[in-house]
């Protein structure tokens, strides 16, 4: 290793050893390091790659008594069944509707908040706004969803408040038309502060000289915002956008399971809740694994595609 290094620094040409002998040397040198890693490796193999391997039940008619090796192979039947079922369009529509609405309304909010917080002049007020808005991120979903149910019940505070504007009191979570707004608003409420941190730290990192230069050129606050702050924030925004795109098909089941009820299934059932109810409530293991696999593959392609697209377009990418 030492010899190789000195060769490199003097710029001499040297012949690389074959891979196998380099690996052998590496193993000799780093054996204890790799052995130390074993428990972590075991975790990833069992609990991350294990379920990935387990996806092959999607091509079976898996029966727990027969086991994975005794169950019958059915090829793509489960996928076909899903694409042809009534639920395919329902869960796809709901998933995309929630994701797109989220992208339009929830995604820009933390960026705006970060810009606003950054402009606050009193240090203590700034600190207070940050402390307060970060807080809901740490409250459990169970609690937040029960708060939501309480506030929007027939005589809940929000419902009562809305009656001043001609709203007819009703249990809002039992009405299909309120599901999406409540989902989005509660999401913003919980995450706006926390998600603004990353933008705020990017803003703080912007070189102050850029602002000085802009001021000398006569740029006002607005001009500085559009010509300095936003362009400097763009890489961060793009990275967050890619991550968000990757989640397009992955609307989480935990929140919806706590929020929906038979009256709102029609608009609230998304791919992940469908996977849950088909697999673990109705015990259609293979079918539900197929739906989950469809979701995983589409999600992966989406991250990969957006990443590639943005690399070409702007040079910002995840990898």
């Amino acid at each position: 290793m030492k010899a190789l290094k000195s060769n490199q620094s003097t710029g001499e040409v040297y012949i690389r050893e074959p891979l196998s002998s380099r690996l052998r040397k590496d193993w000799k040198k780093n054996k204890t390091l790799y052995l130390l890693f074993l428990p972590v490796l075991a975790y990833y193999i069992v609990f991350q790659y294990g379920p990935m391997a387990g996806l092959f039940i999607a091509f079976q008619n898996y029966k727990p008594i027969k086991g994975v090796f005794g169950s019958k192979w059915v090829g793509l039947k489960n996928f076909k069944d899903f694409f042809e079922s009534y639920y395919f369009w329902r869960v796809l529509r709901n998933t995309i509707r929630i994701s797109v609405t989220n992208l339009i309304f929830s995604f820009p909010m933390p960026i705006i908040l970060a810009l606003l917080i950054n402009e606050l002049r009193t240090k203590h007020f700034k600190k207070a706004v940050q402390t307060i808005t970060y807080l809901p991120h740490f409250i459990s979903l169970v609690v937040i969803m029960s708060m939501l149910a309480d506030l929007t019940s027939r005589n809940g505070a929000i419902t009562q408040f809305l009656t001043h504007f001609g709203f007819t009191p009703t249990t809002m979570l039992q009405e299909q038309k309120y599901f999406l707004p409540l989902y989005i608003i509660s999401g913003i409420w919980q995450n706006i502060g926390w998600n603004s941190i990353i933008y705020l730290s990017a803003i703080v990192g912007i070189d102050a000289e850029l602002y000085e230069a802009a001021k000398i050129d006569g740029a006002g606050k607005m001009r500085q915002l559009f010509s300095v702050t936003l362009p400097c924030l763009l890489p961060t925004i793009i990275i967050m956008f890619i991550l968000q795109m990757g989640k397009m098909f992955n609307v989480g089941h935990e929140k919806i399971l706590l929020m929906y009820n038979p009256l709102t299934y029609e608009v609230a059932d998304v791919i992940n809740t469908y996977v849950y109810s088909q697999g673990l409530v109705n015990m259609n293991w293979s079918y539900s694994a197929a739906v989950g696999m469809f979701n995983s593959i589409v999600s992966f392609l989406l991250v990969w595609g957006t990443n590639k697209f943005s690399k070409k377009l702007s040079g910002s990418s995840l990898w």
């Binding site: 069992v46 996806l55 990017a202 703080v204 990757g246 089941h253």
Partner: protein, 300 residues
């Protein structure tokens, strides 16, 4: 770094134009309203929990202060034995789970930060891949089942034993330690585990604090794992008990008239009891939480 900048800007004695003054006033109003919108529903629960149950039943709108303050609601909460077992179960998972999480994350982060070992690149790729592609709930359930973990507390600990995000945060911190430190220790005859626990861990203790907090909060707040894997009510963690109390209360409260009367206030008190540890610790630990986001952001 940011504070330095603030000082420079302040010392320059800036003069604001009228437009800027107006913008600033509007900004303060918006931020105040937003803070209120976040804070009021939380205070509502807190004040409701300390209010007289009859008042809570009659009350419309948000509680801005406790009405006829009383601790009665809390006495009812603590009479519920499942709250206490839930608390103990959650404590077990938080303590044991977080200890295992942090141990594995430290090991993983240390190995992945050793760039001179050849296999590290492959291992990193293998691990990062799992952030973008997962087997999903059904195959995960089958894995947990085939290991015989169903209805054991380990089902709440082992399937999430490492969070890839937290481990990468830890690795980023370790990668910033100058190579010369671990190298000179190795030359002095230290083994890898000694370098990890005696040199790297103390050097990165701020980041260790961050991931301890992340893991602990995640364990405290999680309910879905328990909902999937546990059958036995005696093993339910607090959040699952909470879910039963908060969401299925209509059927329960029908049975007991007096309970129905106070159920709203007792619900509030239950939420307070279950969330208090986090809310109490939060103001003191906030800077650690925030630091984690920043470290994680260095390399997404």
């Amino acid at each position: 770094m940011s504070e330095e900048k603030n000082v420079i800007i302040k010392s320059k004695k800036v003069r604001y134009t009228v437009g800027e003054q107006i913008f600033h006033a509007v900004n303060v109003v918006i931020c105040t309203l937003l803070s209120l919108a976040v804070l009021l529903p939380i205070l509502n629960i807190l004040f409701g929990a300390f209010s007289d149950p009859y008042e809570v039943m009659k009350h419309n709108g948000l509680f801005l202060y406790p009405v006829k303050p009383t601790l009665y609601n809390f006495s009812l909460v603590f009479k519920n034995p499942s709250i206490l077992t839930g608390y103990l179960n959650t404590l077990f998972v938080v303590v044991v789970g977080t200890a295992l999480n942090v141990l594995l994350s430290l090991i993983g982060a240390y190995v992945l930060s050793r760039k001179d070992a050849m296999l590290v690149k492959v291992l990193t790729l293998m691990i990062v891949f799992t952030m973008y592609f997962q087997g999903g709930i059904i195959p995960s359930y089958l894995v947990v089942e085939s290991l015989g973990l169903i209805n054991t507390r380990w089902s709440l600990i082992l399937p999430g034993a490492v969070s890839t995000f937290n481990m990468i945060v830890m690795r980023t911190a370790m990668a910033q330690v100058p190579d010369s430190l671990p190298e000179s220790a190795m030359i002095d005859g230290a083994k890898h585990h000694q370098v990890l626990f005696l040199i790297m861990t103390p050097l990165c203790k701020a980041t260790v604090a961050v991931i301890v907090l992340y893991y602990a909060v995640a364990h405290w707040n999680s309910w879905f794992g328990a909902f999937l894997y546990l059958r036995d009510k005696a093993k339910y963690p607090l959040q699952l008990i909470l879910r039963q109390i908060l969401f299925q209360d209509e059927t329960n409260s029908m049975a007991a008239e007096s309970l129905a009367l106070s159920s709203e206030a007792v619900k509030y008190a239950t939420i307070v009891v279950a969330t208090l540890p986090i809310l109490a610790a939060y103001p003191f630990l906030q800077r650690y939480f925030v630091k984690g986001v920043m470290v994680g952001a260095v390399k997404g």
